[in-house]
Structure formats: C-alpha cells, structure tokens
C-alpha cells in the first residue's frame, strides 16, 4: 500500500498497477460523489468516474505536481461532469426528432427526481427540489456550490480546483444561495 503522494505519483508515472489501484481506492468515493452532485444520476456518475480514472492513467505523465493530486483529480472530475451535462443537453434538443422514430428517449425527456443516497430519508423530498433548482444555476455558481455542499470542500480547496481567488469563491456561493432562494420562491408560489 503506497501512502506517500510523491511515491504514488512516481508509481503512476511508471505505469505501476498497484499505484493505480491505490489511487482508485483512495479517490473513487470522492470522484463518484462529486460527479453524482453534478449529473444527478448514479449510472452516469459511475461512467464519468471510470472516464476520470482512465484519463488520470493516460495523462499522469503530464502531471507536473504544481497542484495537489486531489486538486488535479477534482478538476478532471468537474470538467468531465460538465462535458457530460453539455452533451446531455445537446441530446435533449434533438430528442424531439429522435422520439418521432424511437420510444426509448423517454429518460431524456423526463429525467426522474434525483435523491442523493447520503441524505436522510425525511429530507429527501426537499433535497430533490433543491437539486432541480441547482441545475438552473449558472455554471461557475453550480461548481462552487456543489463542491462545497455536496463534496464538502472548504473555500480554499475550491479556490485551488477552480483556480480563482478566495473572494471569488465566497461571492459565487453567496450568489448561488440568492439565486436558489429566488428559484425556490418561484417553485413554492406555483
């Protein structure tokens, strides 16, 4: 079992499978939980997690060590998750045409309500409403809010992942909360 980060990176660079297994074991829950926070679907989050680790395996030689390993992995996870959301949106736009020929696009039209497995049962209904509202946030606000509230990263860790200043992170999370309040107000007014 490799514990030191530098040793782990060295092992990964050499293509050592033990080092890669250690990395997957250490980070799989963080990667999965983060992508789940963005895509709101367990199967999609698992696919993204696999892609993240494959990307790490293939590009670890280019990792210069300027950022922490965890920061680098979170960046890849966020990028992959956002790419996935963009491609899903594109598919949704064309879903009308595809549905003319095929009935299997029902999931794209009507995604089921998302319930995060880590939320207490009595709060799941409200959390599901909040997740829907989070989907409508601007991208940067969504990243900062998800990393903070779903993955539990501190503001300084979010600074490193997003490569922005601490005040920018504070501002993004503050604006995200205000926007969520407005969105929820509209929801409860219906």
């Amino acid at each position: 079992m490799i514990t030191d980060e530098n040793l782990l990176i060295k092992g990964l660079t050499k293509g050592d499978e033990d080092a890669f297994k250690t990395l997957v074991d250490d980070f799989k829950d963080r990667v999965y939980n983060t992508s789940l926070g963005f895509v709101h679907n367990p199967q999609d989050a698992e696919d993204i997690s696999q892609e993240v680790f494959i990307e790490i395996f293939e590009s670890v030689k280019g990792f210069e060590g300027k950022a922490k390993l965890s920061t680098w992995i979170y960046r890849i996870t966020v990028t992959k998750s956002l790419d996935f959301i963009r491609s899903r949106k594109r598919k949704k736009r064309f879903a009308f045409f595809t549905s003319l020929f095929d009935d299997s696009d029902k999931l794209i039209h009507d995604p089921p309500d998302f319930t995060h497995p880590g939320i207490e049962i009595e709060k799941q209904e409200q959390a599901s409403i909040l997740f829907k509202a989070m989907n409508k946030l601007p991208e940067n606000q969504k990243i900062a809010y998800t990393l903070n509230k779903i993955e539990g990263l501190s503001y300084s860790e979010i600074c490193e992942v997003m490569n922005i200043s601490l005040s920018s992170v504070e501002s993004l999370i503050h604006r995200a909360k205000n926007n969520l309040r407005k969105l929820l107000e509209n929801y409860y007014n219906k």
Partner: protein, 106 residues
C-alpha cells in the same frame, strides 16, 4: 409553515450530507475498459488508418480525373460536330448562290 421557512428548510436539506459510495468493483471495471481500449487501438493502428485515408484520397483523385476527362472529351465531340454542321451549311449556301471561287465574275 411560512414560505420563507420552507425555502430555508429546503436549502438546509443537503447540509450534513454523507458522501455517496462508489461501486466496490470500480477498479475492475476501469481495468476492463483500459484493456478494451488497448485492443481497439491495436485494431485501428495509426499506420493502417493512414494507409486507408491515403487510399481513399487516391481513389477520389482518380475519380475526379476520370470525370474531368470524360466531360472534356464530350465537350470536344460536341464542338467538332457543330463545326462540321457549320461547314456543311456554308457549302450548301455557296452552291445555292454559285459562289464557288474567291474571285468575282461581273
């Protein structure tokens, strides 16, 4: 419950959320995908792809050349025909009006 309380309660609903656990077989699945990728890469090796692309470009170039040659020779054939018709018309015109020589007999 007031609307504002509902909103605050909804926002607070994800506080203290526990991290979701990934599939325990994730590593095995990743290794499987990596192996599949390697196989696919071997099948579609860059040299084979390059040869295939080159062959397609070559076929395309040949087709363009053949098409151009055919359409050019067709045009020439048409223009030759039209020249012939014009000469025939001229000959019949000269016959009709007895214009046979290059000099005029008054």
């Amino acid at each position: 419950m007031t609307k504002n309380n509902k909103i605050e309660e909804t926002i607070q609903s994800i506080e203290g959320l526990k991290r979701a656990d990934a599939n325990p077989f994730l590593y095995a699945k990743i290794m499987q995908r990596l192996k599949e990728q390697t196989t696919v890469k071997k099948v579609h090796s860059p040299s084979k792809v390059f040869i295939l692309r080159f062959a397609l470009i070559l076929i395309f170039a040949i087709l363009v050349n053949v098409y151009t040659f055919i359409s050019y020779s067709d045009n020439n054939f048409v223009s030759d025909k039209s020249v012939q018709t014009t000469n025939q018309n001229l000959q019949s015109f000269t016959k009709e009006y007895s214009i046979t020589g290059s000099t005029y007999n008054y």
